[in-house]
Amino acid sequence: AREKFSATFDRIRENFIELFKVLFTEDDEADLRMTDSEDPLECTIEIEAKPRGKRPHSIEMLSGGEKTLTAIALLFAIYLVKPSPFCILDEVDAPLDDANIDRYLKLIRKFSNNTQFLMITHNKKTMEAADTLYGVTMEEQAVSKTVSVRLSGTPATA
């Protein structure tokens, strides 16, 4: 079990280092470390992020948007090791600025060959990147209904 965990950890770590560069830039680095590689099943797993030009410091000092991207890189790094057939993202793009949303959507598009994505969002760019769009409304007080929306913004036939 210990070996299995270490092997999985190594794969996740490689994916994370690579995905971090995709979501940030080629000059940005990040790493994943086990605080005690002799004791993989119990020790803490640390995340180190070192955005370009900046000295490495705890991820705690990163900004809200940078933390979100770092977490996405890690979650997808894990997911690549054990893919799930679908992935639901609920307003995960809220803290991201325009440039970061583009990178995030590019990554989603790349993974969408093997994974079905359901994205809840308020963001126009995310809406435009989708293949299908559902609108949810509460015309009748307190009762939800859905309407399929054409990407031009007009509702599809009810």
């Binding site: 965990f5 057939p85 994505f117 299908t132």
Partner: protein, 165 residues
Amino acid sequence: MYLSKLEMVGFKSFAAKTELTFTDGVTAIVGPNGCGKSNIVDAIRWVLGEQKSSTLRADSMEQVIFNGSKARKPLGMAEVSLTIENNKHILPTEYSQVVVSRRLFRSGESQYLLNRTQCRLRDIVDLFMDTGMGADAYSVIELKMIETILSDKADERRHLFEEAA
């Protein structure tokens, strides 16, 4: 494998029978605050067997049943059905399409169905074992999780690593 259809009636704010059809690409769900988008996510988690009402933002499981409005009385039952295309035969069944359903009555009585036939929760859990699709797989990502996975509560983080191993 992908989700092709979600049907809800009496589940949270979806009082009336509602159907959503998904393609196997990227679907976006939009709408104003409080209109029911996250409730759709809750419905998917619930029908896949979620047992913790707190994950669904409820104090008790009964609270997922439509609790009424000015114009409508509370309903007595919540029912959600999820149709899954088994095109890559990942699910251990010969069916090319599987429908998972769950019902909850105010009495507390709970029902699970596979292809519209009653079964036990166990059968649903077994069906999704090792597909990464169980109720507590990491396939639902929300902002709160971002905070947890990065904060030093390394338990959450470790838990995800172990799930993948």
